[in-house]
């Protein structure tokens, strides 16, 4: 691109930034919550049963992924960590859940190593293929194994970040690359609600 072209792009970008008003994050109202989601039982990274209702009274952030996911899952985790940092001290009440859609490779031991690599506490969850499929269906999440000809196969998967309220109800979901500020704002709303 020529210098003139670069300048034109810059000016357009600046004009866009200056004239566009940021949409306010949508209010996370109980009435507007998605008609899916719900309780489930899976196995955590310590090979212990984990039930979502154990968290009752505290909000949670949940996303589906797999430990060999090269780009999107680490980025999603990074966004969640950034949002929790913005929330501040109260973020300690929020539990982050990583549900593996690759139960074949993601054993509890693999999850333990993986979740330990992040700067925030994360509960890694796995199960039998049927158990994982049931939870994914409950949250309207989908996934498919993509063979690559090696043991390092890929898994296409739903990338949403799900927010769960103190009552264990799915309240809102976002794109994996949602701005940390927007996620933080929604989390503050959930935290402001009574247990």
């Amino acid at each position: 691109m020529s210098a003139r072209g670069v300048l034109a792009v810059l000016v357009v970008a600046l004009l866009w930034g200056c004239t566009r008003s940021e949409p306010a994050p949508e209010a996370v109202t109980e009435a507007a919550r998605p008609p899916f989601g719900g309780d489930f039982t899976l196995t955590n990274q310590d090979n212990q049963p984990f039930r979502l209702d154990q968290l009752r009274g505290r909000p949670a952030v949940l996303f589906f992924g797999y430990t060999s996911c090269p780009d999107m899952c680490p980025m999603t985790m990074s966004r969640i960590a950034a949002a929790l940092k913005l929330v501040g001290d109260q973020a300690r009440e929020v539990t982050t859940l990583f549900v593996s859609v690759d139960p074949q490779r993601d054993t509890p031991a693999a999850l333990k190593e993986y979740v330990g690599s992040f700067s925030i506490p994360v509960i890694g969850l796995t199960g039998t293929p049927d158990e994982v499929a049931r939870v994914a269906a409950e949250y309207h999440a989908s996934y498919q194994v993509v063979p690559t000809g090696t043991t390092n196969y890929l898994v296409n998967h739903t990338s949403a970040i799900f927010l769960i309220d103190r009552q264990g109800r799915l309240r809102q979901y976002f794109r994996f690359d949602e701005k940390a500020e927007t996620l933080a704002s929604a989390l503050r709303t959930l935290l402001s609600e009574k247990s």
Binding site: C18, S68, P70, M75, S117, T150, N156, S159, R175, F176
Partner: protein
């Protein structure tokens, strides 16, 4: 200062800066491809795939495309782009990544990136990995990528 005034000032300043840079830095007669800020996410003995990122800059007068990446001890290194189908993300190999004349392409988290698979030895945080980039004009560039934590979002 109002937001509008600040924006007008910002645009004026940016315009001036861009003009100044253009005046001070005439185009080189013979350009080259440069690879900047290369970094790769940590891998382990168990998790043998990872992702890499960098900025590819083309200072030549002609379009150039990245056609291959290789690294010692890495089974496969490919440029991948992400496609969103109704919220389900899938990755697709990019055989030829064009870099426009006097332009740059960023390989960044959440977008087009380098997918590394079958990494023979774990890439430890703080160590480095040499990546060899091959372009369709016959040139190659080898750059030393820094290994960063799993949740890093940039080289720093």
């Amino acid at each position: 200062m109002t937001r509008q005034t600040a924006c007008v000032l910002l645009m004026a300043l940016t315009g001036a800066t861009a003009s100044a840079i253009a005046a001070q830095a005439p185009r080189p007669k013979t350009g080259a491809i440069a690879v900047h800020d290369a970094w790769v996410r940590v891998s382990t003995a168990r998790r043998t795939s990872s992702s890499g990122y960098c900025r590819l800059e083309n200072t030549t007068d002609t379009p150039v495309a990245l056609i291959g990446i290789a690294a010692a001890g890495v089974g496969s290194a490919q440029v991948h782009t992400m496609v969103d189908r109704d919220g389900q993300m899938s990755m697709h190999p990019v055989e030829k990544l064009p870099i426009p004349p006097h332009g740059a392409v960023d390989l960044a988290p959440g977008g087009t990136h380098i997918m590394l698979t079958d990494i023979a030895r774990p890439l430890a945080i703080g160590s480095t990995l040499d990546l060899r980039f091959t372009f369709d004009n016959g040139s190659t560039q080898t750059v030393r990528a820094v290994i960063r934590p799993l949740d890093a979002m940039s080289i720093r």
